[in-house]
Symmetry: C2
Amino acid sequence: MKSIIISTGDELLTGSTLDTNTNWIASRLTELDVELICCFTVGDDRDKLLWAIKQATEKAQLVIITGGLGPTDDDLTRFVLAELANSELIEDTHSLTVIENFFRLRNRQMIERNRIQAMIPAGADALDNPVGTAPGIKISIGQATVFALPGVPSEMKRMFDLYVAKWIAQRQPAKIYRKKIHCIGIGESNLVSRLEPIVKKFPQIRFGTTAKGGVITINLAYDKLEAIDAFTSDITGELGDIVLGFDDDTLSSVIGKLLKRRKQSLVTTESCTGGLIAKTITDTAGASEYFAGGFVCYSNELKQKLLGVPEKTLIEHGTVSEQTAEAMAKGAINATNANWSIATTGIAGPTGGTKEKPVGLVYIAIANDSDLVDVQKFLFGNLGRDTVRERATIAALNFLRKYLLDN
Amino acid sequence: MKSIIISTGDELLTGSTLDTNTNWIASRLTELDVELICCFTVGDDRDKLLWAIKQATEKAQLVIITGGLGPTDDDLTRFVLAELANSELIEDTHSLTVIENFFRLRNRQMIERNRIQAMIPAGADALDNPVGTAPGIKISIGQATVFALPGVPSEMKRMFDLYVAKWIAQRQPAKIYRKKIHCIGIGESNLVSRLEPIVKKFPQIRFGTTAKGGVITINLAYDKLEAIDAFTSDITGELGDIVLGFDDDTLSSVIGKLLKRRKQSLVTTESCTGGLIAKTITDTAGASEYFAGGFVCYSNELKQKLLGVPEKTLIEHGTVSEQTAEAMAKGAINATNANWSIATTGIAGPTGGTKEKPVGLVYIAIANDSDLVDVQKFLFGNLGRDTVRERATIAALNFLRKYLLDN
């Protein structure tokens, strides 16, 4: 079954609203094994909406529209659907009662304008909205089944699961198994080249890669679980510790699992990353089990006071140096009872760089309570403040990950 | 001028990547007064991409494509552009040199596969990529000018500004003045109601609002600067300290300006926000002038050891309490020589909530070196870990901002 998503709303075309609905629906369709062939985004404009729905119903068997079901003049979805189905809009008495009850239960006055939300093309089904006022619409146009859902994400998600997912499940044959393998510390083209011989061994398995935030994800899909498992095992054998994890794993959650398994704790001490490493670690719920806490030592005064970095080190080698990173990492272990520490010091930019110490230079140190200290120097280039900080965070967490795997 | 955006990549259709490029480009096009008539999302599929580019070049004068310029087999944009322009792909020697240098500078081996990225349809322009390996492509197809940019957001943004924005500026007629007024601590519909009388006074000025991360932005556009200034002055008079700032101001940069003006410094001490406040403050370049540093005290042990929060307070009132927030804020001032401190303690979720202390409960305390302490209680609801942490960060920074304005 092929599907198309149409998002509507002027706010999507002016950039004032980020469309997260399409991504959410796309994920659900993937889980439900429905092929999504493309997506359209159109404004609150009759002609464009008409064009998009017409194109979609000619190309796909399932069309999902979000938005344009509200009570205001720029909500056009119901009108365009009626036009394309050659039918009249009629008032759905059940939907009207549901809308009236929605207002009554909240002690709010229903204004006349809201009545329009009970208007449905003749021959279509009204879909009850359990969390809002606008019912959805299910209608056949040509060979396609069209679901029109509200644009409010919480309403759309509930109604997708109630109506669209159920409709799909009744029509789907065999189960497809999926596996994601997340890799780190390798470029995408290099990874693909290295895996070529393995990929050739399993021509029947769908294989693709995506890159995001320094992590390359290998996506596998096939209807035989054993083949996916064999493929995965060959890949992990080839890539070793380049493999970060699988499926829902993230760099943050993998470090959490490794620390929990060792019953050890972590402290962070950040200069140029300014708290981003601590923030990334605490993105994982339950981080309090292994994350003692962190220091953001922006000033040299705090580096000395809280971490005991010697003034001599700061003067002789500078704030951004191997020696300072090392002293910060050791100092954080001494100042707390944590087992492991990560320290960063560098030049995030856009200013502050020199010929010897350019923007993008970052020293990352790892220390532990058994006197291990290791420092790495990174040159991320002048890629913009946000990017330098993100790359330094990923590099630091991956540096720690390798120690947690090894020791 | 009418425009269309085409995003490409299987990862967008499987839902594994959220498309933020389209939203960013849509915002920039709005700023540049270019009408965006619709957007297409297609996978790494020759036929679909061909269809989308053909449709777009027939409907718009400007077509922006993101993605599909990489070195792997599923990167098809260059091939489809050549096909539509009826031209051959030729190796662009300048681009090849740039790609070779990119690898040489990073001490990495350029593999043969990367050569493909220097292939450009004959008659097209290669667009240097200052932050990655894939050059962009500018090509005429029918009546349209097509810009193909990389899908990596940092590369796409730099190249949009370098090439697309410049190309648009050369073609736009009268100068339009724009003003953004950022507001905080008010809902969008409430704000619009309050401003209705002022908006009626200036019917000729384009007026719109957008909401993002707790900040409502009023966007004004008109070809007379004096009228914009008069409108702005009326709005700031009406809204007072709800106005956060203008144009490029952010909550982070505004706090920086206020602290610099006062020649004062800030320390943060975070529990539930886990470093996000420190990260947000250090998003602003030059934060070292006023940001001493921060503590992320996830464990109670560190709250006692580093901030001197009394064990009694933690036991009697709990980690998430008004008393603990207050002690953290005071403790951070004592532990450093900073003038101001912000402290957060709360339950970010998704687990850990109780009936008395539900997920979303956050206490935020402000203290200064003149013995001021103020605590506010917030109930953000069970909106998901990320949202609770973001809202708490915004609330904390706005709480501090009001003190920096007043005192």
